[in-house]
């Protein structure tokens, strides 16, 4: 299975993470998204006319939407991740997959603006991102009161994987997660899953060691 990939892309990371958690091996093909804009070039558009990343190819199957890729990986290699144990839960998972698109259009765009100098209204991106985080925090707080730690039900699903990257990367776009304790706990639970992999900006859990940021700066010693 081949993933056309960009290392800094939150959407590409969703697929790398899902595959790692399922123990599925991906052949990564690096696409020069930045600075080369290879995804907009003719050769790549012959593969995916939309000119977007990621692209997943498995035999004759070619997928260009990350949520569809998550469904495919889970169907093939870990059905429990579909979260379809009841009709209501299956529908709620779909709701979160749609919500993940809002995260990409808000927090994701704020990050691209602040990091790779994408044009756009940064205040609007951040405002929309904070609205999403508040909704998510309210949901995760309810879930905690009910004794749950993942988005839907007792186990992680593709909904968690779809939503996690752009939330965890929010600080890259100038949006702090300090105000959302339930979201931070959810993030810790996901980072503790066996097989979890990192990306720049999303760190593994360090066992009770001070994070490097917590080491006093030279001038404070």
């Amino acid at each position: 299975m081949k993933l056309y990939d960009y290392v800094l892309s939150a959407s590409c990371y969703k697929i790398r993470l899902m595959a790692a958690l399922l123990g599925v091996k991906l052949d990564l093909v690096a696409v020069d998204f930045h600075p080369g804009r290879e995804h907009r070039a003719l050769a790549f558009r012959n593969l995916n006319p939309a000119g977007t990343l990621p692209v997943l190819v498995d035999g004759d199957l070619m997928l260009t939407e990350s949520t569809a890729m998550l469904v495919y990986l889970a169907q093939a290699s870990g059905r429990a991740w579909l979260g379809d144990s009841t009709p209501a839960r299956a529908a709620k998972v779909q709701n979160w997959l749609a919500f993940s698109a809002r995260l990409g259009a808000s927090l994701g765009m704020a990050r691209l603006h602040d990091m790779l100098i994408y044009p756009g209204d940064i205040d609007a991106f951040r405002r929309a991102g904070v609205e999403c985080l508040r909704e998510l925090e309210a949901h995760m707080t309810e879930a905690r009161f009910a004794g749950r730690i993942f988005l839907e039900g007792d186990a992680p699903t593709i909904a968690d994987i779809a939503c996690f990257p752009n939330v965890a990367l929010a600080p890259d776009g100038g949006v702090t997660l300090d105000d959302y304790p339930a979201i931070r706990l959810w993030s810790r639970a996901l980072r503790a899953l066996p097989g979890f992999i990192e990306m720049p900006g999303i760190h593994r859990l360090h066992e009770l060691k001070p994070a490097p940021e917590a080491v006093p700066a030279l001038e404070d010693l």
Partner: protein, 281 residues
Amino acid sequence: MIAQAVLNEWYPVAMAAQVGAWPGRQTQLLGSDIAVFLDAGEIVVQRADGSALAVCLRYGHVWACLGTPAHDLFPIPEADQPGRRLVDCGVVRVKCSPLRAVENFLDIAHFPFVHTDVLGAEPHTEVGRYEVQIREDSDEVWATKVHFYQPQAAKSASGGIVTEYMYRVAAPTAAVLYKTCPNKPDAWDVIGIFVQPLTEELCEVWPWMALFDDATPQADLIQFQQMIFLQDRSILENQIPRLLPLDPGKEIPTQADMTSIAYRRWLKRKGLTYGAQMVAA
């Protein structure tokens, strides 16, 4: 009021291959609005009032000077060496002092903590003795004989090796490192970071490489470097104070920080204080 010494230095303002016709790249240099664009085949950098800046094209990038250039742009002889691949890695914006971006690049002690399992790994956190000097002839800061264990020193490295490094501050906001080349042990891989100071607390960073590596696809080389730099970015954006303190009374020398101390001393001596604070933090 920006010191004349700061204005008379060269700074990167664009990747040469990406400069287009007007309006081109609308950006900032030392707080001034500038435009970088192509006019009749020539790359022009101009201020908002239309006046042109001194420009030179080197190492894949456009360099500009807001004042009167005090000297030519620093040399990187390896850039012209046959067989090397020159790789422009694009730009990343970081909300930090341009001087802090350079200082972080010089800091080898952070590898195991920030670039875990790639450029460093616990428990191999020890930085051995190395040499640091301010070279009077070239007016540059150099750190040499730096040795460090690395799980994956480069895209082309297939396992852990002890890598030797040399670090060089070639300009106030440009540094170059030389490291053991996994494919060619008698040669150095060369990696630069060219930092464009937009303001004292905002910069855009252009990593650049000159490697002996015929095998690795371009996109993989670029993404490896971007992955490394983006691991630094979140650390840089959280550093307090935002400006680089140049008060010598606050410096406690430890082995790992010797390069940083020399860099700060060199900046202070030359009056290159844009992005620095002169009082204790």
